[in-house]
Symmetry: C2
Subunit: 244 residues, 2 copies
């Protein structure tokens, strides 16, 4: 073998290996996304069906995401140190750290919903409001699925359209918030259960926010630009007054 | 000038310049920390004193943190690409990205409190509960101040002790949560105001969580190890049932 071919084969080896490193991050993020989606789905099913065993499963699944985030973070730092990636590659690695952090938080939200399902066990729960929560969760789940697609396709366009749709989740959350207040006022015996449902709704709304954060990271990975934050991340319920 | 002294002066120049880059990040994080602390302080003062002008100030100050986070993120990526830092230096830069994200979220929480102060304007607010919120905010503020000290001193030991004290905030939050429920049950006219106070308390509790996250990043910067997550990040109120 000549020196030249030796070097070419070495270079090819390094390139492949680097791609493998990035593929590892992409694969682990996709796995985390799958777990986070399932946790949200199951948390809400456990609420609708009053299924404490399923709630317990969601609570213990959260450890999977905590571990995955830590491992992705460690691997990302190793990749930067070893490979010294530039430009788009560096954005990929930094982006993976950020997305993993958001998905880990989505898991925390789903776990919190599951815990509240256990807390409201046996209390009267207004069917209409539980249906409302179910609908809100469907929207958040769609956002989550689509943003993970946008990530795997590195699509700035998809990322942008996801970000714009967060308003719909906020609007439905705000109307649920008002309904829950009304329900509590009608009968004080509903207060404990409704307060837990209120926090469940808030958790789902925050999952929508995390999907939006991920969309912003995908946009950054794909384009190198940061979307300037003209989107009001805050929910509207903060301004719901007594006269509403 | 000899070649050797030329090189030495070049090396010194590069070193200085790199330190300047890192110092920029440290300085910007300290500034963000200062703004976040002030926002929390003023949000709670505006609640205690029913001061809508101060609430408005907190709401508009949030933009400062959004901008600072974006700028720190951009600078950090530039530093990695240009300087290709290794080991402790790389941890510093990655850590700055993470801490900036947490401080930006602290600003969001303070802004949300300020908005709710505007929403409850003119409603009866239980003095005792507002005092409870004020106390909770003091604890969170102490955590925030100390974790920023731990960051500026790169102290793993301080970081660790801050992380352990988050339990106290969670315990006080849980007792406030119960009191707020009781107050709502006593008189349904309190429900709207108490719900907003409930979310204010939750925001403060989450600021404590962000301080804990930052403590974990400081530990990582200082030691290179990640603290394994044996700390229950979730609040206890998720399990407050009807029998409590």
């Amino acid at each position: 073998m000549t020196d030249e071919s030796n070097q070419a084969s070495l270079a090819a080896h390094i390139v492949t290996s680097y791609d493998e490193d990035l593929q590892y991050l992409v694969r682990r993020i996709a796995e985390m996304g799958g777990v986070a989606e399932r946790m949200l789905e199951e948390a809400v099913v456990s609420l609708v069906n009053s299924d404490p065993a399923l709630s317990q499963k969601v609570i213990s699944d959260d450890l999977l995401l905590d571990d995955a985030e830590r491992q992705i973070g460690e691997k990302a730092v190793l990749i930067i140190a070893k490979r010294q990636p530039m430009a788009a590659d560096l954005r990929d690695v930094i982006g993976a750290i950020r997305i993993a952090a958001d998905l880990e938080r989505v898991g925390d939200m789903a776990k919190n919903i599951a815990k509240r399902v256990l807390a409201v066990q046996g209390m009267a729960q207004p069917k209409k409001l539980v249906r409302g929560l179910d609908h809100l969760a469907e929207l958040a789940l769609t956002q989550l699925k689509e943003v993970l697609d946008a990530y795997s396709q590195r699509s700035a366009e998809m990322a942008n359209s996801i970000r714009e749709r967060d308003d719909e989740i906020d609007a439905i959350y705000t109307s649920l918030f008002r309904e829950l207040l009304t329900y509590m006022m009608e009968d004080p015996r509903n207060i404990t259960a409704c307060t837990h449902l209120l926090f469940c709704a808030k958790n789902i709304e925050r999952i929508g926010d995390h999907a939006t954060n991920i969309a912003e990271v995908v946009y950054y990975i794909a384009t190198g630009d940061q979307l300037v934050n003209d989107r009001p991340k805050d929910d509207e319920t903060a301004t719901v007054g007594a006269g509403d």
